[in-house]
C-alpha cells in the first residue's frame, strides 16, 4: 500500500503533504504533553520495534506469508497520538532508506496509514471499549479495529488513486477494499495474538484510554 512517486497528481499529493504535516504537528504536541521528555527515547525505540515487527513473516495458507502492519497494535499499546507519530516515523524511514513509497507520495502514505489507519482504527477501538469493559472487550475491540484500519487505509489509497485520474473510482474502490478486507483478517488475528500476550504478562503497559499519558510511569520489574 506504499504509494510510489508518480502515481499521484500534484493536486492530490501537495494537499496530502500539507494535511499530514498539520496532523503530525498536532499529534507531536499531544504525545509530548503526555510523555514529556520520555517522548524521544520511547518513540525512537517503539518505531524500531514496529519496524522490526514488520519483518517477521507469518505463514498463511498455501506457502504464502504475510507480515504485521502494526498501526492498531501501536495505538492499543501506546495510545493514538504516540501511535500516529511512531507509524509516521516508520514510513519516513522506509521512504528514505528502503525507497518503499515515494518522497512526493510520503504525505499521502502518512495520511493513509498513520491517520486513517492507526488513528481511525484507534477511534473504533475506543468506541467499542466503551461498551465492553473487561479484558475480552480489549481483544474484540482490537480485532475489529485492526481489520477496520487496513480497510480504511486502502479506502483512502483508492480514493487518492481515483482522484489522480488513474482509475475509475468504482473499480479502484472495489478492487482495493476487497483485497484489503482479506489482508485485514490476517492483521486482526496477529494484532489480537500479540495484544493478548502483552495482556497476559504486562497488562500495565497497555494504554489506558481514560487515564492521562501512559500506564506505567516508573521502572518496573523485569521479565
Amino acid at each position: 500500500m506504499h504509494l510510489p512517486d508518480g502515481f499521484l497528481t500534484p493536486h492530490i499529493w501537495i494537499p496530502a503533504w500539507l494535511a499530514s504535516l498539520g496532523g503530525l504537528s498536532y499529534c507531536f504536541r499531544k504525545a509530548s504533553l503526555a510523555l514529556k521528555d520520555r517522548m524521544i527515547p520511547l518513540m525512537g525505540v517503539m518505531s524500531a520495534f514496529i519496524f522490526a515487527a514488520q519483518m517477521i513473516n507469518f505463514p498463511v495458507a498455501g506457502g504464502t506469508s504475510g507480515h504485521l502492519l502494526g498501526g492498531v497494535l501501536a495505538a492499543v499499546l501506546l495510545g493514538p497520538y504516540a501511535a500516529a507519530v511512531v507509524i509516521s516515523v516508520v514510513l519516513m524511514v522506509q521512504c528514505f532508506i528502503f525507497q518503499d513509497g515515494g518522497l512526493t507520495a510520503l504525505g499521502a502514505n502518512i495520511l493513509n496509514m498513520s491517520f486513517a489507519g492507526a488513528l481511525g482504527g484507534y477511534m473504533s477501538y475506543a468506541f467499542i471499549r466503551r461498551f465492553i469493559k473487561n479484558s475480552k472487550g480489549i481483544l474484540i475491540a482490537t480485532a475489529i479495529a485492526s481489520w477496520l484500519s487496513i480497510v480504511l487505509a486502502s479506502l483512502f489509497c483508492a480514493m487518492e488513486l481515483a482522484c489522480s485520474g488513474l482509475l475509475p473510482l468504482k473499480a479502484a474502490l472495489t478492487a482495493m477494499v476487497l483485497v484489503h478486507a482479506l489482508i485485514g483478517i490476517g492483521e486482526a488475528v496477529l494484532t489480537c495474538l500479540v495484544v493478548s500476550f502483552v495482556l497476559k504478562v504486562r497488562p500495565d503497559l497497555l494504554y489506558k484510554p481514560e487515564g492521562s499519558g501512559l500506564a506505567s510511569n516508573s521502572q518496573s520489574h523485569k521479565l
Binding site: 506504499h2 520511547l42 525512537g44 525505540v45 524500531a48 517477521i56 524511514v93 532508506i97 518522497l103 502483552v198
Partner: protein, 256 residues
C-alpha cells in the same frame, strides 16, 4: 547476525560522497520533484533524467551492478500497482483478446500512462537510492535538521536508527531459538509462537526505552538537543548545486 546494512557504501571517497549533505539533499529533491512534474507526452525527458542519474552514479564510484540490483527490487511493487492501468484506461485499442466472458483490451492511452507512471516511479526511487547509498544516515539527519526539520523528529529517527539493529538482532535470536525447537506443529501453532515472540520483543523494547531514558537523565538530559554540524559550504558545493539545477532546468525547458 547478518544485516543488510543501511549505509555500508557511504564511506567511499568520491566527489558525490564529499558534497555538503544539505546541498546534496536539495539537489536530489529538486531532481525528484522535476521528474514528477514531467509532462506525460515528453518521453525523451525520462531518458535524459536516467542519463543524468547514471552520470551521478558513475561520479559516486558506487558499483553500478549494486545500484541496478537494489533498484530492480522496487519494480515488482510498481508493476503490481500500475499494470492494470493498461487495461482499464478507455481509449483506442491496440490489442484485444478475450478470456471466456471477459474481454481485455490494451489501449494506446493506457499504455502511455502506464509507461509514464512506471518511468517516474522507477527514476525517483533510483535517485533516492543514490542519495541514500552516498550519504551517511546520521549526516543526512543533521542536514535535515539544518534545513529546519523539527529537531524532535530528527532525534526520534536517530534513536530509531540506533536501536533498529539491536531489536532486529534480538528478534532473530528468538526466531532461531524457536526454529531449532519447533519442527512439527500446525500453522496456527507457529503463528502463535511468532506472535508471542513479538509480544516479548515489545515488553523488552519498552523496558529498554525506559532504561535509555533513565541513563539519559543520569547524564543530565533536560529535553534539549545539541548537535555538532561540522560541515561548511564550499565553492565546490555551490558549483555542484548550480550545475545540478541548470541540468535539470535544461531538461525541463527543452524536452519537457
Amino acid at each position: 547476525m547478518e544485516h543488510s546494512y543501511i549505509d555500508e557504501y557511504s564511506r567511499i571517497k568520491s566527489f558525490i560522497h564529499n558534497l555538503e549533505p544539505r546541498i546534496k539533499l536539495i539537489s536530489f529533491f529538486a531532481l525528484i520533484v522535476s521528474i514528477i512534474f514531467t509532462r506525460p507526452a515528453a518521453m525523451p525527458a525520462f531518458g535524459a533524467y536516467a542519463m543524468l542519474i547514471f552520470l551521478l552514479v558513475f561520479l559516486s564510484k558506487i558499483p553500478l551492478m549494486l545500484v541496478l540490483s537494489r533498484s530492480f527490487s522496487v519494480i515488482p511493487f510498481i508493476l503490481i500497482m500500475s499494470i492494470f492501468i493498461i487495461f482499464i484506461k478507455p481509449g483506442e485499442p491496440v490489442w484485444e483478446f478475450s478470456l471466456g466472458i471477459f474481454k481485455l483490451s490494451i489501449t494506446n492511452e493506457g499504455l502511455a500512462m502506464f509507461l509514464n507512471i512506471a518511468a517516474k516511479a522507477y527514476l525517483c526511487s533510483l535517485s533516492m537510492l543514490l542519495l541514500m547509498l552516498s550519504t551517511n544516515f546520521l549526516n543526512l539527519l543533521k542536514a535535515l535538521e539544518k534545513l529546519r526539520v523539527p529537531s524532535i523528529l530528527i532525534m526520534i529517527i536517530s534513536f530509531m536508527y540506533r536501536y533498529l539493529f539491536v531489536l532486529e538482532d534480538e528478534l532473530m535470536r528468538m526466531k532461531r531459538a524457536k526454529d531449532s525447537r519447533t519442527i512439527a506443529g500446525s500453522r496456527w501453532f507457529h503463528a502463535r509462537a511468532l506472535a508471542n515472540m513479538l509480544g516479548v520483543l515489545f515488553v523488552r523494547a519498552y523496558e529498554r526505552a525506559e532504561d535509555v531514558y533513565l541513563a539519559m537523565c543520569a547524564r543530565g538530559f533536560d529535553g534539549g538537543i545539541r548537535t555538532i554540524y561540522d560541515y561548511k559550504l564550499r565553492i565546490k558545493d555551490l558549483c555542484f548545486l548550480a550545475t545540478a539545477v541548470s541540468a535539470v532546468s535544461i531538461i525541463k525547458i527543452y524536452i519537457g
